[in-house]
Symmetry: C2
Subunit: 334 residues, 2 copies
Amino acid sequence: MPQTTPTWIYRTRPTGPITGETFSLEDTPLPEPAEGEVEVATRYLSLDATNRVWLTEGALYTDNVQIGGPMRGVLLGEVTKSRHPQFPEGTHLSGIGPWAARFVTDGKGFAPFPLPKGADMAEAFAILSVAGPTAHLGLLKIGGLQAGEVVSISGAAGSVGIMAGQIARAHGAHPIGIAGTDEKCAALVDHYGYAAAINYKTEDVAKALRAHAPKGIDLHFENVGGPVLDAALANMKDFARLTICGLISAYNATDPVPGPYRFGEIVNRRLTIRGFIILDHLADFPAITQDLARWMADGTLRMPTHVVDGLDKAPEALNLLFEGANTGKLLVRL
Amino acid sequence: MPQTTPTWIYRTRPTGPITGETFSLEDTPLPEPAEGEVEVATRYLSLDATNRVWLTEGALYTDNVQIGGPMRGVLLGEVTKSRHPQFPEGTHLSGIGPWAARFVTDGKGFAPFPLPKGADMAEAFAILSVAGPTAHLGLLKIGGLQAGEVVSISGAAGSVGIMAGQIARAHGAHPIGIAGTDEKCAALVDHYGYAAAINYKTEDVAKALRAHAPKGIDLHFENVGGPVLDAALANMKDFARLTICGLISAYNATDPVPGPYRFGEIVNRRLTIRGFIILDHLADFPAITQDLARWMADGTLRMPTHVVDGLDKAPEALNLLFEGANTGKLLVRL
């Protein structure tokens, strides 16, 4: 009798938040690895806002998720059977794979996970897999952040924002975070490198940015979109830059989301806006991983993790991202 | 008794289109030029969408127009009295000056107007003063247009759009224009370099762009904003660029204008969006003027002019821009 493994199958396209209809947890066949393949046991799933984008119809940058196929995401796994010379049994791999307890792969799209000495596995995965490279690329390569500059960061208490504050500070810049609770704001300033933090639910963000950055913002790093982006647009310096990493406020929307309303500032302030996706920059990952591992080792970089146990909890855990319910990196542990 | 000269004075900030209350035509003193000054008789006023932006409250890139002061704009004038060695009587000057029949200036911000041999004065002014440099800068320096690329241009029948189509074609690119009547669209293709033109009032612009550029758009040159910009955003290639020259659809708006709605394409398609203002690039003008004059001489570059006679008609003529009532360059002749 062939082996099976529990796998989340994408069944119904959501029109808003993910529901009980979106996925179904099914037993799918788990073949024996052929020559050149490995069997991997999933240890952690990384939950990222972009997972929701992959469920959207239309032209997207990845076609990883098809109705009837397995839901996919970045994961950390361990090789349990190997017929692949580069990935012996016991190797930890990370890459984009199925939301499944086990799976068989030829290893394409996976790389050995570089666990830094003495590091916590979950924290290292949370930093090195998605959030750290995203913040590093977005601030430095895409955003061109310079020492001494003022950088505002939305979604600051999310995993990318937590990385961005610390990386910006390590780079000699002045990061201002925007988040949704006073507790998150306090943590950003106390623990995660932020020079100041603004609660967008209780403060006038445009006014608060003006107070914290009276000469204006050099770089805005956007993870959210909507009114927060407009508040930033109202406070940019002439010739300033905006890096658009994500627009989480729009991902669950059923209707087109209007805005930004202050688009005219692009001309008035001669702004440059750039969107980016880390998958385009995989060649930069070795150098970025080196930076991140060094900063982890010397204590510059820390990531709080929010770990949900059980593959069966993955879909409802993904919704936490859109409710702003997590601080730091959301992971599912298997 | 001191001489006076009719001058448009900015009186009341408009909340929508310019009205009869916005300006008043008043006789203002015209002093004798002092040493180092000249008296200039205005020959042509250039009417540009940015004139309306200068009337808007708030932080803007120029503070040229103050309530109680003269309305200003780009103009072509002739020196009628000179106590300035560089500008003898009879010199034609262009630069930003008051909407007045005559004025006295020390010449700062003005340069001798380089009328190419055999050129029509109005057409040369229309090409060289604002529209030609704007299109040249926006397409080439800011937009990085390359031969063989597809470039979509909104406001294509406006003065900048007319220049942009011809410059793009001369550069070996494939320009697609978007304008508001079938007559304008026909003229764009027949006379002004466009490979294709789309009537945004009768066609589905997104669908028409897809038909004219099935592989996507490399560069979008935006003069309008609103739904046309969204249609372009839906059709960009990965890693494509957008140059934002102006957003005329928003300038007369009394409420914040929502959109673009497809802002998420910035991430999905990894777009770069840049706003620019030609006043930041004055150092490039000599080289640009050389290009434009050469193209005028060899017949590559032509500009239809829409000339309104009489200083007293200037405010109502400015409104024509926002009604899409002009093809090519709108000028007031004195």
